[in-house]
Symmetry: C2
Subunit: 418 residues, 2 copies
């Protein structure tokens, strides 16, 4: 549509670089350190993605009051609903703490850089942050999509109601998986960075991770030799089990990805072709595991600093999110020999169910803490007064025209009859 | 809202049963065989669910032309898109053949019964059909939901366009997972029937499955002793591997469910409580596997009778659907010892990727065969002329008001400026 459509050169956005009248690309910076500063502007991509992540998390938090209040989830007979919903509530809490911590780290670096202060390993930090955001945005936006769907289903027929506001939330959130970086493309970028770190670790070189998100790769051989040794659910419901299992998982998936990628290069494929062919299963699972690990790592540090009275419920939510997420990686845990036989999957799933049951008396308070006000929530199903059916009735009888005939009624009722 | 609202007794729908003036329940049939006929009316539930299944499948078929034509999926570099889409296309084909075959079986029984002819094991057949529909409706409606989402994502930003008609398809389809029987409730009903058959098989009693969907349970011990022995992908891409793996899977999941359920009963729980507590993971996976097996079993029989020229592509689609679905049961295949070590999951996933690649030259024809006409499809992204960008441009410039100012433009532009 812009074929042969002329845009004058003076319309260029040329603060950091320009094109001369004879078509040469030039940078307007002579000082290399300034170019680095300008490169930091790429972080605007990070900012956009971060905003999406934040919005996505807020939407996620907005979902929960409906189904959680809709069902009386404190009852045992609601086990299926507990299982389908509580993991997502835990995810919303862990993600919120993660985003707050991570935003602080990121904004500190941006502030220092803008003030002209020296930031150690700035370009390495920028790369690491880029990798972190590139896999966190897919994790948060896809999880929120799934959560919105589970919320609607858990509210049954009432979930369709316009005044439940679940459909609109879902539709409005949906584009986040595509814009500000399509999720699949972003995952590749995180995968590239991870593979660079792993290759360096294998070669005994230094890792470029000033934020320490993959420092454990230094000991990748030791980590890879870990195995599942628990024989009761109490041993699984620990931060230590969750974090070390994730480290094993990331090492295993990196090794799989690395081996496949190298094998394809050895076959004569280009790097681009090799990445494409090794992406499905390997890169997706790898960057998903890494992003979950990031959320767990940052939120764990933050929870440890919270006031004592908050810690018990936050640890429960942390543990539930960790085990509920590991459940989805069971194939790799078995495939790589970390798990063997019937017990590991059984124990892991029992631990998830136990945590759901442990949380049932606290979940309504958790959801109330996450939720915005009734006005923002804008849903007849989750008003803070808890009067579900009365509010439904009020919405119904209060809606203009509820008791009127449709204007086209004469078209469907032969006039002779009435 | 109907509190103290009186409805006269004469408004009762009382063809098969009634309530007398003094409140007694009476059946209006004296002949027991007639009561059975009336009970067949319960099949109206089956009919409703079947209709949902059929509509769901049609919607599923309607989705595909967009993303498949949107991408040039015949190219190797599109491996992620092939992987995310082709499995669902294969599912749509297998489901369509399954529904056609199954509807024929069902309608034959209904016809005979309505004509007053004798149907062997009528009440057993009714129970089996009820179980089949109760798990097939969740399978088809949930799969179509996932497919609609994948289609939208695969079309990127263009997928949001109103004129792409993907959002409306998704929203209109969404209620199917709840109405005519909530999917979770229906799965329990199928689970009940399956568990009854398994208990009978364990006790050496006769199975009540005139449609032969679980006849293999007679040999549940032999089936349970099967293990994964393939050492190349060719051995996996066979109908024999798929069907026997599903039989193992169903036996394993039944044994897990049975053991858990019995253990809970032994602890003193009621049947209702025990079912609730054994549902998550076990009943869901069990009825999902059974429904996939049904789709495969019925479609395989039908494909074997198709004309020779159609068979190669139909077998490829059948095999892709079978392996792609088994991929999602890998945890249980490992947990139960059917698979051990790194190779099985690796081979299975390689086989899926190979089948995607094998199908790339045929997939557009397959999608065209599934799809309704352009008018019904009603999407700018998938017109049969294949002129994607020209059609997008036409839709954009042809839309009333595209080149007009918004009526509220004065509110955002200070009048002094223009």
């Amino acid at each position: 549509m812009f074929n042969q459509y002329r845009i004058p050169r003076e319309n260029l956005l040329n603060r950091a670089a320009d094109v001369t009248e004879d078509g040469q690309y030039v940078s307007s910076f002579s000082d290399p350190s300034k170019i680095l500063g300008a490169a930091l502007e790429n972080l605007s991509a990070v900012q956009h993605s971060s905003t999406v992540v934040d919005v996505s998390n807020n939407i996620s938090c907005t979902n929960w009051p409906r189904p959680v209040k809709y069902h009386d989830l404190t009852k045992d007979k609601r086990q299926v609903e507990q299982w389908r919903l509580f993991g997502y509530v835990a995810a919303a809490v862990v993600f919120r703490i993660y985003i707050q911590s991570f935003a602080q780290v990121y904004l500190n670096i941006v502030e220092k850089s803008h003030m002209g202060e020296n930031v150690d390993n700035l370009s390495e930090a920028v790369s690491e942050i880029h990798a972190m955001v590139s896999c966190s945005k897919p994790l948060l936006t896809w999880t929120t999509m799934e959560a919105a769907q589970q919320c609607r289903e858990a509210c049954g027929g009432h979930g369709y109601l316009k005044c439940a506001n679940l459909g609109d939330i879902r539709s409005n959130h949906e584009p986040t998986v595509t814009y500000e970086g399509d999720n699949n493309v972003l995952q590749q970028q995180a995968g590239n960075w991870l593979l660079r770190q792993y290759s360096a670790a294998r070669a005994g070189e230094l890792l470029d991770c000033p934020l320490n998100t993959v420092t454990f790769l230094r000991h990748h051989n030791t980590v890879a030799s870990l195995v599942f040794t628990a024989n009761n659910t109490a041993q699984l419901k620990t931060t230590q089990f969750i974090m070390s299992t994730y480290k094993w998982l990331i090492c295993y998936l990196l090794k799989q990805t690395y081996d496949k990628y190298e094998a394809l290069l050895a076959k004569g494929l280009t790097k681009f072709q090799a990445k494409n062919k090794s992406q499905v299963y390997r890169w997706r699972n790898l960057t998903k595991a890494y992003s979950e690990y990031l959320a767990l790592m940052f939120s764990l540090e933050a929870i440890e600093k919270k006031e004592e009275t908050l810690k018990p419920v936050l640890y429960k939510l942390f543990t539930l999110y960790g085990l509920w997420s590991l459940d989805r990686h069971l194939v790799e845990l078995y495939q790589g020999g970390y798990c063997v036989g019937e017990e590991p999957a059984k124990l892991l799933r029992e631990a998830v169910m136990e945590l759901c049951s442990d949380l049932k008396s606290e979940i309504v308070s958790v959801v109330d803490a996450l939720a915005p006000t009734d006005f923002v929530l804008n849903s007849v199903l989750a008003k803070s007064d808890g009067r579900l059916y009365q509010n439904l009735q009020k919405a119904l009888v209060g809606h203009p025209g509820t008791f009127e005939r449709a204007h086209w009624w004469r078209q469907v009722v032969p006039s002779a009859k009435l």
